[in-house]
Amino acid sequence: MKFKLNVWRQENAKSAGRFEKYDIDGITSGHSFLEMLDVLNEKLVMQGKDPIAFDHDCREGICGSCSLVVNGRAHGPQEAATTCQLHMRKFRDGEEINVEPWRAGAFPVIRDLAVDRSSLDRIIQAGGYVSVRTGAVAEANAIPISKDVADRAMDAAACIGCGACVAACPNASAMLFTAAKVRHLNLLPQGQPERDMRTIKMVEQMDAEGFGACSNHLECEAACPKQISADFIGELNRDLATAMLRARGASGNASAGG
């Protein structure tokens, strides 16, 4: 298969980027999108040119490293899949393909298509954990959790933190990511002691990173490779409102946990 690629190239966060055109041939329908870029990069290196920088790691849809807005869609045209799981058979032979990085102020470009997503890590650091005492592993059935709750928490926990929700959102909002991470723990009994503090701190960190607000476009849900539901966003809104009200009622409570 042959393709005409239109790829975003950028030296670093400070420099201005531009699109660069590449023709590529000899790709099979079984090549993944990232393998196609590997082939192109080998050619570029042979020609003494800079290869295209892009993020990847597991290449099996579990690590959340890969990104790319392909033909205007985060992770490309395939539903419920990451870019590493996207195959070239999804494209027409000879098709022109536009490749851009995740675009958000909170995701500065490192180089070309690779962006810095540590803003998401800082949201997790603000409250995406449960404090437990170390020691012997607790007996698994000591804390009963209903199947319903376990399933919901598991759905939220499916988030791999790739940032496609931010990339797809017209407001570059990180609400789906934050909602999934907050609700995952807020649903479970282990998450209860730090529930309000977690909710407030993670939302405050999300805002501090410069992500946009949610306008309920639902583009995030449509782009999410793990199909995380935007219902979690409504639940996060509810959790934040109750957390703030309780923090007001019992003055000092919310900041005491840290």
Partner: protein
């Protein structure tokens, strides 16, 4: 980190809740206003009498007016602050970006809102303050019985095609705004559950459309001579 220093409305979520609550107040008003207008179909005495009742109870009308004023100011200022924030969140735009889930109404909330704001200004000048220059009729504050002559003023105005056209455009903007907003506000306030989401969304859209039809009925009925 002091979480005490911050309040709900300092967060982006809190700002959205201000939009949702003020939007809900305005939505409620719009439904009441629409039902009030439909009394035109019952004849002059009904709607003029209704207007008289409102004006004869200053607590009612001034209470409602102050709540609405607070709601609209909160709604508009928060809209501007959110629009700025959202714009700043993506400094470099995509060259190619496809929409999968969103729609035109959702993407133009700011512009439909702005259209509504301009319309509200015209609407107040027109029917509340009786500035009817260019419509070719004399605004009458009172009818023969000493009631506010709402009926006369409506009928005289909406016989003028451009005036009716202007109201149609404004209602178009309002129904688009509510098409997204009437559902969105429930999601923002966290009043959602996967079992009811579909129903909630379709009922919100249905109510928004009913409001649009109800409002348009009056000027169109006058223009086409159904109400004289």
């Amino acid at each position: 980190m002091s979480t005490q220093a911050s309040s709900l409305t300092n967060t982006t979520i809190g700002k959205k809740m201000v939009m949702a609550v003020s939007g809900l107040v305005l939505f409620g008003f719009v439904i009441g206003h629409m039902l009030g207008n439909l009394q035109v179909f019952l004849g002059p005495d009904a709607i003029n009498g209704y207007s008289h009742t409102l004006h004869a109870t200053p607590v009612l009308i001034w209470g409602a007016r102050s709540v609405l004023l607070v709601a609209i100011v909160a709604h508009a200022t928060t809209a501007i602050s959110l629009a700025r924030l959202n714009r700043a969140a993506r400094p470099v735009a995509y060259a190619v970006k496809k929409d999968i889930a969103t729609d035109y109404a959702a993407k133009t909330m700011f512009w439909s809102g702005l259209t509504i704001a301009l319309y509200i200004a015209y609407h107040l000048a027109h029917l509340t303050f009786g500035m009817t220059k260019g419509l070719g009729y004399q605004h009458l504050p009172f009818d023969a019985n000493g009631l506010p002559d709402v009926y006369h003023n409506l009928v005289q105005s909406f016989r003028v095609p451009w005036c009716t056209a202007l109201y149609v455009v404004a209602q178009g903007a309002l129904s688009m705004h509510l098409y997204h907003g009437a559902w969105s506000l429930f999601q923002t306030l966290g009043v959602n559950h996967k079992r009811y989401n579909e129903t909630l969304r379709s009922s919100a859209v249905a109510v928004a459309m009913a409001v649009c039809v109800g409002f348009l009925a009056v000027p169109l009925a006058v223009l086409f001579g159904v109400v004289k």
